[in-house]
Every structure is written in structure tokens, then in C-alpha cells.
């Protein structure tokens, strides 16, 4: 399963990515998780299952959905509270739920 997190420069979400990776490992889940800036998303759509959008760039939601959904990629804004508290497990759950 491949998950990408989008934010403005990929900096704050990369903190969250580390936590999600640790959580995925704990669950023995085969997952590639990455953080990219919004402008890079277009080049990373291959084999992607889920795009999660950082709440601070939620104004891009429509644009990202238009990009992702025709390719069968699920997209959603990350739960604000889980994002702020950097809860890797909850955000991972959100991604898994989306992909089903």
C-alpha cells in the first residue's frame, strides 16, 4: 500500500510520516509512506493508493481530488486533531479506511 501526505513544503508532515511508518512496522503492514510538497504530487501518482492532505493546505482539496480520483486514488484531509497531536496510528487508520 502506498500513501502520500501533502503539505506546503513537506516539512511538518514528514514528522507525522515517521510516526506512521513506525506504526505500520508495528502492525507488520507493508506500506510505503511519504510526504511531498503539493507541487510534487503530480509526479508521484504511480501506484498510489491514498493521498492525505495536511489540514493547513485544505484549500487544495478540490484540486487534489480532481487529480487523484480519476485514477482511482482516494483522497481526504487529515483529521485535524490527529494531525496536531502527531498520532501516527490514527492517521494510518484513516488511510486504511479510505483505501477500502
Amino acid at each position: 500500500m502506498k500513501i502520500i501526505l501533502v503539505c506546503s513544503a513537506g516539512m511538518s508532515t514528514s514528522l507525522l510520516v515517521n510516526k506512521m511508518r513506525a506504526e505500520a512496522e508495528k502492525r507488520n503492514l507493508e506500506a510505503t509512506i511519504e510526504a511531498v510538497p503539493e507541487s510534487q504530487l503530480k509526479n508521484n501518482l504511480d501506484g498510489l493508493d491514498v493521498v492525505l492532505i495536511g489540514p493547513q493546505v485544505r484549500y487544495l482539496e478540490k484540486k487534489i481530488r480532481e487529480l487523484a480520483e480519476p485514477k482511482g486514488i482516494k483522497a481526504d484531509v487529515i483529521d485535524t486533531k490527529a494531525y496536531g497531536l502527531m498520532q501516527g496510528d490514527k492517521v494510518l487508520d484513516q488511510a486504511i479506511e479510505l483505501s477500502q
Binding site: 503539505c7 506546503s8 513544503a9 516539512m11 511538518s12 514528522l15 507541487s39 495536511g54 489540514p55 493547513q56 493546505v57 485544505r58 484549500y59 487544495l60 478540490k62 484540486k63 485535524t80 486533531k81 494531525y83 496536531g84 497531536l85 502527531m86
Partner: protein, 427 residues
Amino acid sequence: MQKFIEIAGRIGSQRHLVAIRDGFVAIMPLIIVGSLAVLFNNFPPLGSFNFVDIMNNLFGDGNWQQVGGSIWNGTFAVLGLLIAFSIAYNLAKSYEIDGLSAGLISVAGYIMLVPVTADWGLNFAWLGSQGLFVGIFVAIVLTELFRVLVNTKRLTIRMPEGVPEGVAKSFAALFPAVIILMIVGLFQALMTVFVEMSVFELIFNAIQKPLQGLGNTLPAAIIIAFLNHLLWFFGLHGTNILGGVIEPIYLPLIEKNADLWAGGLSAFEVPYVVTKPFFDVFVYMGGSGTTIALLIAVFIVVRMERNHPYREVAKLSSPAGLFNINEPVIFGLPIVLNPVFLVPFILVPVVLTVISYVALSTGIVPKTVAILPWTTPPILSGYLVTGGSWRGIALQLFNLSLAVLMYIPFVMAGVRALSQQIRDKAS
């Protein structure tokens, strides 16, 4: 509220503004290297340790400074040229057309317009920040033309099969490039004959200079600080949304300061108070909202309860907060849409903007002469940005203490509201 987010969203994703913003983001590493090179060349003496003197003794006066000087020439000094490429590239990419060709055409068009010196050299004065607005116009106008022409089927040369893609691509751009550069050439000829002034001077005097003059005033600085934080309060990336408008105005101002400072002027004498690093270093300490002060306020107010949710968030956010990354606090505490924090989150930065403006403009604290990566921690950033003055650190400490004091009552109110909520839930 929904309406507000929609409008902000539309600005934040407007194609041309995004291309401008991403264009600036792309050249930022070069700009920072150029700025650090100047800082290195004029490194402030620390007590009896005088770096510049030592280097002069070792390598002969000024010889070693050529390294930094030439880095400046290749980066900050050609800001306009760099931006002409990077904006055209990003804009073309957003249309999913050939970004490299668009960027190259834009650079060619830009150079065509630059006044040539008597001994057939390019005039550096117009390659840099003074040519920034022309760079933006050229990039946008030429790329729009390029898009129309490239999508016109009759103008593209079709290559027989078996021709490598790179070759086919460069030919696809051939006719559009011919037409675009002809137009630019014609325009340049008309300008020389009828206006007897380069387009650079015209745009600089008519648009760029007035805008920058306005940008350097206190009211403009307050409006920017206010808007940025209002957007963040709604959970939107304020700096990002405003970037396309703010960078073109504030980047040239710091360039001018840094350039004059490298030329021997002291950091007190350089002209511009409000610059990009002005906000980054003196106001947005710990990120938008001066949240490093909020973290300190939380640690002061919530001393006893080790597991208090506020304390947990503050602990979690502190490491990133030192480097001015603060999304965890903003969304975790949360500040977003939290009426308790609306007032201080907007008021603190506005007040600090006013104080810093006064401190810099009255000459109590030297002005900003270097642009640093925005992730440079406070204290260090205050020292470096003022060209190595302890007064820069002092202003940061003053601002921080004031911000902590302003945040404390609101943190207390937040704690009370939180325990009320928990009690309500329990009963």
C-alpha cells in the same frame, strides 16, 4: 466562515500566483547561499576574534572575499533572471506543457530587454532585484503566449517516426519561440524609438518602486501580519497563500540592504525596515503566531499536572518549534477555530510587528541585512540577520518575553475552559 475558506482557497490555488510563489520557492536555496556568502565576507567580529582581519592576513586583503563576491553575483545579483526562468517553468508545468522550453524562451526574452552597456555587457543593475517585476511579467506573458502557440496544431512541426523525443520536442517549440521572440524584439525596438527608455526603468519606476515604498511602511506590515494570522486561525497556511504577493515586494528590499551592507554601510544605515527576514526573525519566532512564546507560557501555567493535554502538546511541539515549524501546536492545542486563542494569536504578532518596526526605524536595533533559512532558530537568527549585533538578540528576547506575558492569561483561560468541558462530560 466557509465563504472565507473558499476565497482564501481560490487565492491560494490561483494558477499564476502559485507559479510565482513556487518560482520563488525554487530559487530560495540560491538566494540564501548568496546572502550567507555576503555574511561570511563581512563576518562580524566576536570580541577580540576578528574573522575578516585573520583572513585578510592569511590570504592578502580582499582576495579570499572574491569567493563570496562571485557567489553573490551568480545568485542574488541575478534574481530577476533566475525568477524569469523559474516562474515560466512552473507556469508551463501547471498547464502540462514543456516547462524547459517555456523557461528558456522566458530567459531569452528577458535578456533581450536588458539594457546593454557601452562595452557590450549586460547591465547587472537590471538582472537583479530591480528587474524582478519585469521578470515576473515576462515569464507570465511569454508562457501564456507559448501555451497558445504550442497548442495551435498548424504551428508545430511533425517529425517522422524514429526521431528521438528530445529532438521532436525542441522542434515543437521552434515556431512558437520564433514568433514570441519576434514580438519581444519588436516591442524592444518600439520602446527604444518612442519611449527612449528601457521597459525595466519604466516598470521599476511605475510599479515596483511605489509598491516597495508602500511595503516598507508600518501599516502594510501590520496588515500582512494580521492577514497571515487570520488565515492560520482558520487552519489555512497563511504564509503560503500570501506568498505570491509578498515575496516580489519584500525580497528586493532585503537584497538592497544586504548589497549596501556588503558595500560598507552599517546595518543601522541601510534603508529598509520591513523585509522578509524582518517578519521571520522578529515576529514569527517559533512559527506564525510567535508560538514558541505560547509553548513557554504553557510550561509556565501548567507546571503541576504532568499529563495535562496542553503540556503534552507543548512537549510534542517543542523540538520542531525551535526550528519555527509549528503545525503541531496550531492543530494540536488547537489554536485553529479556538475562540480562546483567537485574540492573542493575532494580537501578539501585530504588537511585535509594531515594536520591531519602532526599534528598527529609530535605530535602537540594526536593520536586517541577511536572509536566512526560515528554519534558523531564534537568538541565532537575531544575531545573524542584523549582521552580528547583540541588539538583534536583545530585541528577540524582549519580544519573546512580552509575547509570553501576553499569552499567559489566555493559556490560563484555556486551561479553565478545558477542565470545565471535562467536568461537563463527566456529569
